[in-house]
């Protein structure tokens, strides 16, 4: 009040500002520090998560294989009986001839246990494809069974007393002998991606889950994308703004917050119960995921449409464009990057969604990949759920590996969304 330069205590305004400045700077430093600490904490958690997954999962990316000479004995296997035949016996014989001092029948059978249970089928497929192999000796490389895979990866402690150990002393001795002569190898486990599910961890792969997730996401996209955009464009551009449209808006926002398990129950009751659609099928999974993804797409699309500046609409209206020409000729194309970003994020959410798929039975045990959306299938997250629930040791690392595969897909999708957003971001 008095004058510009001196305050009540004879201080100038500059002094007062300077005194306050120290406090303001402190506050700013504190806030910045807090923000940085929060980010550091988030990154630490992420690193722990990914780190522990990699640690427990990386071993699943290789699979122990055994190479042996097999005499395809015409006594056991004949062209007439194919595809049936004594493939197991032939395999067993190959190891028995390698370890001639193993004479007891029970021991011989446990010798055969080194082979994966699927080895006989691999051999069978070889012979079916080429009948001339009968009577010859061929060298085959096939997966070993899970306990030996664990031994080879150092996951079974050799110090454990014999009676508590999955792989007994004599079995270890055989296996060590095989290692010593170079019959054991650990190639990259492509079967993890190219095989469907199996009871035997050494044969189990994600192909069925990948294909199931693909079909489900495709269905989800085909339903949710056009419907979501249609609903959003109508609500944002054409619908009269009144109580009813407000109510619809509130409900769409609520729908986006409904727990996914509720959508699963709904799908179970309506799609499977009322309409009699097949259980465990990606078509139902995709429709369920579409219910959940649609609100996300609607909300993202409306935000993107709102972000188109009114000056563009006025410009188009000003030269005599009709409402529909303005919306579909200008506004929607300009909003497309935002719409696509929202859609991809919605689909990424759908890809990771588990609960609704469990409810519609997409956690069934299925050993072949679905060839259409109407076949039974699992999806990536439900496959993880199945494997995490399996007692075999081999599924522990495979579960982590499957999670890593799922995370890779999610990160890729989000990266595409971020790329789209930054590439097409407009400065008006």
């Amino acid at each position: 009040m008095t004058d510009m330069t001196s305050g009540s205590l004879g201080k100038t305004n500059t002094d007062l500002i300077r005194a306050g400045l120290a406090r303001r700077n402190r506050n700013q430093l504190f806030l910045q520090g807090f923000g940085m600490a929060a980010i550091a904490f988030a990154f630490l958690m992420l690193a722990i998560l990914v780190g522990s997954l990699v640690l427990s999962g990386y071993k699943a990316f290789t699979q122990t294989h055994i190479s042996v000479d097999v005499f395809i004995d015409p006594e056991e296997i004949s062209v007439e009986r194919l595809p049936r035949g004594g493939f197991e016996e032939v395999l067993q014989a190959s190891l028995v001839s390698r370890f001639p001092d193993v004479t007891e029948r029970a021991e011989q059978r446990s010798l055969r246990g080194i082979f994966s249970n699927g080895a006989q089928f691999l051999l069978r497929d070889m012979v079916v494809a080429d009948n001339s192999l009968i009577g010859q000796t061929v060298r085959i490389t096939v997966p070993v069974s899970d306990p030996y895979d664990q031994v080879n990866k150092g996951l079974i402690d050799r110090e454990t007393p014999n009676e508590n150990r999955r792989v007994k002393d004599n079995e270890l001795a055989w296996f060590d002998a095989l290692i010593a002569e170079g019959a054991i190898s650990s190639p990259i486990n492509w079967a993890l991606l190219t095989n469907a599910d199996s009871r035997f961890p050494e044969l189990a792969g994600l192909k069925g889950a990948l294909v199931g997730s693909f079909w489900a996401l495709l269905i989800c996209f085909l339903i949710a994308f056009p419907l979501g955009i249609g609903a959003a464009v109508y609500l944002e551009e054409f619908a009269p703004k009144n109580k009813i449209s407000d109510l619809i808006e509130v409900n769409i926002n609520n729908l986006a917050a409904v727990p996914s398990v509720v959508f699963g129950l709904l799908a179970l009751a309506v799609f499977i119960g009322t309409f009699g659609m097949p259980r465990s099928a990606p078509i139902v999974g995709g429709m369920t995921l579409a219910l959940m993804t649609m609100p996300t797409i609607i909300i993202a699309t409306r935000a993107a449409l709102k972000a188109v500046p009114p000056s563009i609409r006025e410009a188009a209206l000003g030269v005599g464009a009709s409402k529909q020409q303005v919306v579909f000729g200008h506004v929607v194309p300009l909003a497309m990057p935002g719409i696509l970003t929202g859609t991809i994020i919605g689909l990424a959410q759908a890809l990771g969604e588990t609960a609704p798929l469990l409810l519609i039975g997409m956690n069934a045990f299925i050993t072949s990949a679905a060839s259409s959306p109407f076949d039974s299938a699992t999806a990536l997250p439900t496959q993880i759920f199945i494997w995490a629930d399996s007692p075999e040791r081999g599924f522990v690392s495979r579960t982590s590996a499957a999670i890593l595969v799922l995370l890779t897909f999610l990160i890729t999708m989000n990266a595409v969304a971020i790329y789209l957003r930054s590439k097409f971001e407009r400065k008006w």
Partner: protein, 265 residues
């Protein structure tokens, strides 16, 4: 006697392009335009002046029903263009806006090529039969927008990449490309430097030979330079309307006088 009056009327009717009668505009409860009566002549530049918020833009936008896009906006009274009520339910606002072009205060080219910006209007109205005709329209419009020489070598470059003044001239070219009969301009020069302003003013003077031009401006000098008629708005009322020379030298209303001499506004 009777004949004489008839002829006089006919001439009058010909000269008057837009005629507003008891026009009220409301934004919800706000009464933005109060009982405005005005006759806007053909082949004339009419300037709307007045302090900020007095309703110039509102009235201008009601002349091509741009206010329809604002939900809370309501227009009462009659606005006749060529004797036809533009708020008649039979009138399609799309057709009206093809006839009454508009240039906005802020340059707003489409984020498309310069060519597409100008070609858009003729295309949606089907004014060109083929590509050659469209090319011709685009060139003619860009020439009338006094920007052809600057952009003729980069017609495929985005319109948004031009400078502010160039963008505004592009918008004028876009507006004239549909051959409107009336051109509404809401402060078209507010984002322009003096040189671009001079170019646009020259352009307005040229357009007058074919169109009826209505321009909102905050610059008294500009109104004096380009317009033949001036309307002064104040708090939603049309206070005074007449020959530009008379408004600026010998206004009748004291409010006009104080605005022009810089006392209100």
């Amino acid at each position: 006697m009777n004949d004489m009056r008839l002829i006089e009327r006919a001439v009058d009717m010909n000269d008057i392009k837009i005629s507003a009668r008891n026009v009220q505009v409301y934004y919800g409860a706000t009464h933005a335009i109060k009982d405005v009566n005005v006759d806007i002549a053909d082949k004339t530049v009419t300037a709307f002046i007045g302090p900020s918020g007095c309703g110039k833009s509102t009235f201008l936008r009601s002349l091509n029903r741009m206010n329809d896009t604002i939900d809370i906006c309501r227009v009462e009274g009659d606005i006749l263009i060529d004797g036809q009520d533009i708020y008649n339910p039979n009138i399609d606002p799309v057709q009206l806006r093809a006839k009454v072009g508009m240039v906005f205060q802020k340059p707003n080219p489409f984020p498309k090529s310069i060519y597409d910006n100008v070609a858009y209007g003729p295309k949606i109205h089907g004014l060109a039969k083929n590509k050659a005709e469209l090319d011709e329209i685009v060139e003619k419009s860009l020439r009338r927008g006094a920007i052809w020489d600057e952009v003729k070598d980069r017609l495929n470059a985005p319109g948004t990449g031009l400078s502010g003044g160039q963008q505004q001239r592009l918008c004028i070219a876009r507006a004239v490309a549909t051959e409107p009969e009336i051109l509404l301009m809401d402060e078209p020069c507010s984002a322009l430097d003096p040189i671009a302003t001079a170019q646009v003013e020259e352009l307005i003077d040229e357009l007058r030979s074919q169109y009826s031009v209505v321009i909102v401006t905050h610059s008294m000098q500009q109104a004096a330079r380009v317009s033949q008629k001036t309307a002064f708005f104040h708090l939603g009322n049309l206070v005074e309307y007449g020959e530009t020379g008379k408004i600026f030298t010998n206004p009748e209303d004291p409010r006009t006088e104080s605005y022009i001499s810089g006392r209100i506004g």
